[in-house]
Amino acid sequence: MAITRRKFLGWMGCAAAGSATLAGTAAYGASNKEFKGHPGSFGVLHDTTRCIGCRKCEKACNEVNKMPDPKVPFEDLSVLETERRTSVHTHTVVNRYAPSKQASSEKQHPIFVKKQCNHCLEPACASACFVKAFKKDKKGPVGYDETLCVGCRYCMVACPFNIPAYEYDNPLTPRVMKCTMCLPRIEEGKLPGCVEICPREALVFGKRDDLIREARMRIQKYPDLYVDHIYGEHEMGGTSWLYLSKVPFSQIGMREDLGTTSAPQMTAGALSAVPIVVGLWPVLLTGIYAISKRKDKVAEEEAQEAIAHVKEEAETALASELAKLKEKMTKEKETAVTAAVKKAMDEAAAAAQAEEKAKTEEQKAPEAESDVEEEK
């Protein structure tokens, strides 16, 4: 049986999911399976060739999300002078891009691009969140649950499109803010605010599969009007929001170097290493411990042997030393004895001599005594 790549990935996916279930919950985010999106999920097709940069979508978004009024009114198009990104109170922005100088004359018009959360099929933000505050809804939108969010902002690090914004000035209940795809409205059967208001149908809401078909058709029908690419079909594993453009997407502020690997796949390898580390390290470490213990033991035995040896040697040395000492001592003793004997004998002889002398002196003594008495 040949192992197909798909099957292999499936197994890998199981392994990754296994590692991800350490805490008892299956995390679909860590799955390595190729994910084509929830069947029948919704999306939006943004045809930038139709967008006129009126900012009506921005206004509608502001209203449906009950955001505070902006400093510059939405009718003021001067904000288009600078490139903007989404922010806390602005879930969507429209940017204007000047066409490149070399482009042919018919491409000379400025191009407008609406930017908001792309509602990735396998969202980086959801895969990154360590409390599962982000979730991909089966209907398409990527939603956020502020009751779980800790505020670590890893989702913002992870999002390849730099979409989520954070309430940095809110000390107690800061939230991550981003487009909701108007999920509440979708559930009511309404269109997203921005889609509904768009006067040029630059935004189309529908099933993602249908939107892709529609986009392909437009490209086929007007090959001069579009580059042959649906941005979002495969980028980062695919997104629910899709884009068409007349010029290469990199010229209208959209990165073309993101690749098609979804975010969960990028971290799946690292995650699947967890059970291996947990399983192997104790074995290896205990092994090393056993070896070092054994080494210690051997070293100890050797040391003991050495000590014994040394001791033995020392003992023999000591014994011989002792023997020598003993010998020496006996010798010394002997000499001492002889010396003593000799001395004693000498002394005795001397004493005898002295006695004799004394005797002779005694004999002389009476005469001397009388001399003394006479003097008295």
Binding site: G24, F130, Y154, I288
Partner: protein, 391 residues
């Protein structure tokens, strides 16, 4: 069980060091109030495009890497059976524990709702996230380190029975600690796997977790050597003979090991370059910066370590340790801040505010102050006379 609280020495003299410490603590306190009264925006330069600043790049990434001395030293001593490292274990465990405690403390400043920090473990575990892995392992490891350190406190308090129980678990705790360290040290690198489009290709690599883990080893060793030299300077009177006698051996042993590991690290860095075929980036400004990091802050200290180990030159080893520690900080800041969002124009890049820097300094100062208190009172740098001949 009745026990008498041992005398606590709390002498504070008006030395310049203590005065500076005091000023930093007061400033830090003020900034803390600002942070929690006005939100992150009141003190940081963070924005929507640059959500992580030095509180993550320095306090978390460097803090955890430099606290690796705990697992490295206890593994060398207990698992690899290098008994002569024994006197180094306790100070290393203490610094590691304080290091991790400070990391968690610092996270309270950085995350938006710090009171929810237990959420990832107890309320809604996001198991697909590498940050979850980091959080879980750091949480568990902090507990392990705490237990590993308790014998010193029990000796200080004279609770020898509990101490005995903990001492019996040493081996299990050590192995558990190594597993947890492997996991979270590498996961910190793996955090950035998710953003290949934002991190400069010279720093982004599928091997990021391996790089972080390997570099944490020599980070830990260098930190043990570096701290050792500081402690010798300022806490010499607290050390006993064993500690003083063994400490040169520890320095030289770690020098040799660190030099080997750093060479290996350079090797796998080059492999990473080759696999992603990133050679051409070396000839750009980023390449020069990258080479500075690798050659100046890894290659050079590795070389000095090797010489120090060969010549048994403790002073040289200490110099190398300073460069190596700076190198780790350099590397972690490069990945989290300098080379992150490298493609954006300067106006959209992040520069820490002075308040962020002072807060980081404040947190480190808190750590040093606690370290000084503990080493002044508990048997860390010396052995408690009652338990001297146990091992």
């Amino acid at each position: 069980m009745a026990f008498k609280l041992p005398p606590v020495s709390l002498k504070i003299e008006a030395t310049p060091g203590n005065i500076i410490t005091g000023i930093i603590l007061i400033l830090g306190f003020g900034l803390t109030v600002m942070r929690f009264y006005g939100g992150l925006g009141a003190v940081t330069n963070l924005d929507d495009t640059n959500p992580w600043g030095i509180w993550i790049g320095f306090d978390l990434l460097c803090g955890v890497a430099l606290a690796a001395g705990g697992y490295v030293t206890s593994a060398s001593c207990y698992v690899f059976g290098l008994k002569r490292y024994h006197s180094a274990v306790r100070p290393a465990i203490l610094t590691a524990f304080l290091g991790y405690a400070l990391v968690v403390f610092a996270l309270h400043y950085d995350v938006g709702r710090p009171w929810r920090l237990p959420y990832p473990i107890f309320v809604s575990p996001g198991t697909s996230s590498l940050l979850f892995e980091v959080g879980l392992c750091v949480f568990l490891y902090l507990n392990v380190l705490f237990i590993e350190f308790t014998p010193a406190a029990f000796e200080w308090l004279g609770l020898s029975k509990i101490r005995g129980i903990v001492m019996k678990m040493t081996m299990a705790l050590t192995i558990f600690g190594v597993i947890l360290s492997t996991l979270h040290q590498s996961s910190l690198g793996a955090l950035f796997l998710i953003s290949p489009s934002k991190l400069h290709p010279l720093w982004y690599s599928g091997y990021l977790p391996v790089y972080f883990f390997i570099s944490s080893m020599f980070a830990g060793m260098s930190m043990v050597i570096f701290e050792g030299s500081l402690a010798h300077r300022y806490l010499h009177d607290k050390m006993d003979e064993t500690h003083l006698k063994e400490s040169d051996g520890v320095v030289l042993g770690f020098s040799k090991a660190a030099s080997f590991i750093m060479m290996g690290y350079l090797g796998i860095k080059v492999i990473g370059l080759a696999i992603d075929n990133n050679w051409h980036y070396l000839f750009t400004g980023w390449g020069a910066w990258f080479l500075l990091e690798l050659l100046g802050f890894v290659g050079l200290p590795a070389f000095i370590y090797a010489i120090a180990a060969r010549d048994k030159n403790v002073k040289l080893a200490r110099i190398a340790s300073v460069i190596a520690v700076l190198g780790i900080v350099f590397n972690r800041l490069n990945i989290s801040i300098v080379a992150f969002n490298w493609h954006l124009p300067a106006a959209q890049r992040y520069m820490p505010s002075w308040m962020e820097i002072v807060t980081s300094v404040f947190i480190v100062t808190v750590g040093i102050t606690v370290y000084r208190f503990i080493t002044a009172n508990m048997p860390v740098l010396y052995e408690h006379p009652d338990y001297k001949h146990e091992h």
